[in-house]
């Protein structure tokens, strides 16, 4: 990354080979054009993403409160130590970990299975893919609301279906141990198509001749899967997994609508807890420190994501 020269050779600028434009006095140089085209976008990002984060970084060292107003006193790392040593935060971190790992693992297994099954079909592949993708395109608000209705303990359709199988009503969203499971199930329902889509892209990209060569060698199905399919799809799948992990980590809307963190605090993820500290507790300084720590985690995950992405592109 330190050597910009090697990065820019794909489209050599041939300005030097171009004769001067005839009769055009206002000819912009490529360099000027680059600045003019890139800087508006970068300025917007600086104003709307970098500046707010820097402000949050400043606030994280103070005891500022958005409602109390007044001056912000520097407390240095007090907010950070308070958060990192808080048992409450540790609990939220564990909840988040269970949620992220549970949801992403389920999505990989289901998504890859569906993609594999679809890739083995010759007819109706397009239609099947389109149908499976519907949940992913819906807004988390719609998904959250609708599952809340379906999981309702009294008149929800899920309990109605279970009832006809002789299973008693389950209080999906109002019991400590089922609420987090419900959250994982709903997230899995919405995002399995994402893994499926990417796995399918990988599976259809596997060259046919490899399978043909393998079947000439009479390799078993499992052997073919393990030695051809999986190694070729895995890099792409890894990217999908990291992407989903980041998204699941920053998820807020589904929790907000489905359970509001309850019952008790059993479904309070870190994102939701930050919101409570910031907008219900009004401890802006503490919430900023909390947020900065979350941003650090996201940055680490994003770096991993981009590293794998680079690797994939170079191959």
């Amino acid at each position: 990354m330190s050597d910009p020269v090697t990065l820019t050779t794909d489209h050599p600028v041939q300005a030097a080979a171009t004769p001067p434009a005839r009769g055009r006095s206002r000819r912009l140089s490529d360099r000027w054009l680059t600045v003019a085209f890139i800087s508006p976008a970068l300025l917007l990002l600086l104003a709307m993403s970098v500046f707010p984060l820097l402000w949050a970084l400043y606030l994280s060292f103070t005891d500022y409160s958005a409602t109390r107003g007044g001056s912000a006193n520097f407390v240095w790392f007090e907010n950070y130590t308070a958060i990192l040593t808080s048992a409450q935060v540790h609990m939220r971190a564990l909840t988040t970990l269970i949620y992220v790992v549970g949801a992403v693992a389920l999505q990989i297994v289901l998504g890859f299975s569906i993609a594999y099954l679809i890739s083995r079909r010759t007819n109706g592949r397009g239609l099947l893919t389109t149908l499976f993708l519907v949940p992913m395109m819906l807004s988390p608000v719609v998904v959250g609301l609708f599952w809340k209705f379906m999981l309702d303990a009294q008149f929800g359709v899920i309990n109605s279906l279970l009832g006809s199988l002789g299973v008693g009503p389950v209080e999906w969203l109002t019991r400590q141990n089922t609420a987090l499971i419900s959250l994982i199930v709903v997230d899995t329902w919405q995002w399995t198509p994402f893994i499926m889509l990417i796995a399918l892209a990988g599976l259809t990209a596997v060259p046919k001749y490899l399978y043909e060569a393998a079947s000439i060698d009479r390799a078993s199905e499992w052997f073919r899967f393990r030695t051809i399919t999986l190694p070729l799809v895995w890099p792409l799948l890894l990217i999908a997994v990291l992407f989903r992990a980041i998204e699941a980590f920053r998820l807020f809307d589904l929790v907000y609508i489905l359970t509001s963190g309850g019952p008790g605090v059993s479904t309070e993820t870190l994102s939701f807890h930050v919101y409570k500290v910031a907008f219900l507790g009004f401890n802006t300084g503490t919430a900023s420190a909390y947020g900065i720590l979350m941003v650090l985690i996201v940055i680490v995950l994003a770096q991993l994501y981009m590293r794998y992405l680079n690797k994939l592109k170079e191959d």
């Binding site: 890139i38 990002l45 099954l117 609708f146 109605s160 920053r250 930050v274």
Partner: protein
């Protein structure tokens, strides 16, 4: 990658099996696979179908125990309630209109800012290009609930709280990284030689971009804009924290607001959700060729 696979395959076992037996087991497996796929498809689609069904049900059928799957009375009342109420136009329809304005304007802005930047990144030597591009993408990964804290304070100073312009700005900022990454892929596919040739004919670089490259990019721009539109349309976190009044609120917080009271009109929630989701599904269908790139923020391309 392919090389290593070739090697492992050529050393593979060559165990013989009688072929007729294999064929019948293959057919059995095929039936099993189709059955499995059908079950999975039903499970995945059931919630969507249930939502559509609920939107057309009368209230007493909505809350029926056990749930009614087929024999219910069809009504359009809930859809009527989405658009009109006793005072004339419902607050939901205002919210839909706000969503159209906010999503539309922010998409246009993100396209206008992002497409030229993507072209410049694709064509020219830029210092630390890769680092810049990664920085741009990483702004998109920030947790919205964290970003919204300083944005809230910033907007309070600027008077942009409960203001459509505020939402438009933040949505634009969230869509610009996506637009740049997605469009850079499309620009990379257009040979730079077209512009070089045009410049040999006496056009300036800018004219070459405008007259020759841009028309070729139009389908890509359309696909990118559709994804940006969907992101803004579906966005909830910024909308709920940065707006409050009915005249500014977009559809997602307005629909979520329907379950705030003591009794919830689930028929209305379902109808509003259907009306809200329908355009997204139509648009997503139009750009289905680019879905992989779209949902990975332009990072993964086939």
């Amino acid at each position: 990658m392919a090389v290593s696979v070739d090697k492992t395959v050529s050393t593979g076992p060559a165990r013989g099996r009688t072929s007729p037996a294999r064929r019948t087991s293959g057919r059995g497996r095929s039936v099993l696979e189709i059955a499995l796929l059908t079950v999975l498809a039903v499970v995945m689609l059931f919630p969507v179908l249930w939502m559509i069904e609920t939107a057309f049900k009368e209230n007493r059928d909505v809350y029926a125990i056990p749930a009614k799957f087929f024999n219910f009375t069809v009504t359009l009342d809930h859809f009527k309630d989405v658009f009109v109420d006793s005072t004339g136009r419902s607050s939901l329809s205002t919210a839909f209109l706000n969503s159209v304005v906010v999503a539309g304007v922010s998409t246009v802005l993100a396209t206008v800012l992002g497409v030229p930047a993507a072209w410049a990144y694709s064509r020219f030597a830029v210092k630390a290009k890769k680092d810049q591009l990664f920085f741009i993408l990483s702004t998109r990964f920030m947790p919205p609930v964290v970003v919204v804290i300083p944005i809230f304070l910033m907007y309070r100073q600027l008077g942009l709280i409960d203001n459509k312009l505020g939402l438009i700005l933040i949505y634009t900022a969230f869509n610009v990284p996506f637009t740049i990454w997605m469009m850079k892929g499309f620009v990379d596919e257009v040979p730079a030689e077209y512009e070089d040739a045009a410049m040999l004919d006496g056009y300036t670089r800018l004219q070459a971009f405008w007259k020759f490259t841009l028309p070729l990019l139009l389908p890509g721009i359309a696909a990118t804009a559709v994804f940006a539109l969907i992101f803004s349309w579906n966005e909830f976190v910024f909308a709920i924290f940065l707006t409050s009044s009915d005249s500014v609120r977009t559809a997602p917080p307005a629909i979520a607001g329907l379950i705030g009271g003591t009794t919830v009109d689930w028929g209305l929630v379902a109808a509003a959700s259907v009306v809200f989701a329908l355009p997204v599904l139509v648009f997503a269908y139009l750009v289905r060729k680019h879905l992989v790139a779209g949902v990975t923020l332009g990072a993964v391309r086939r």
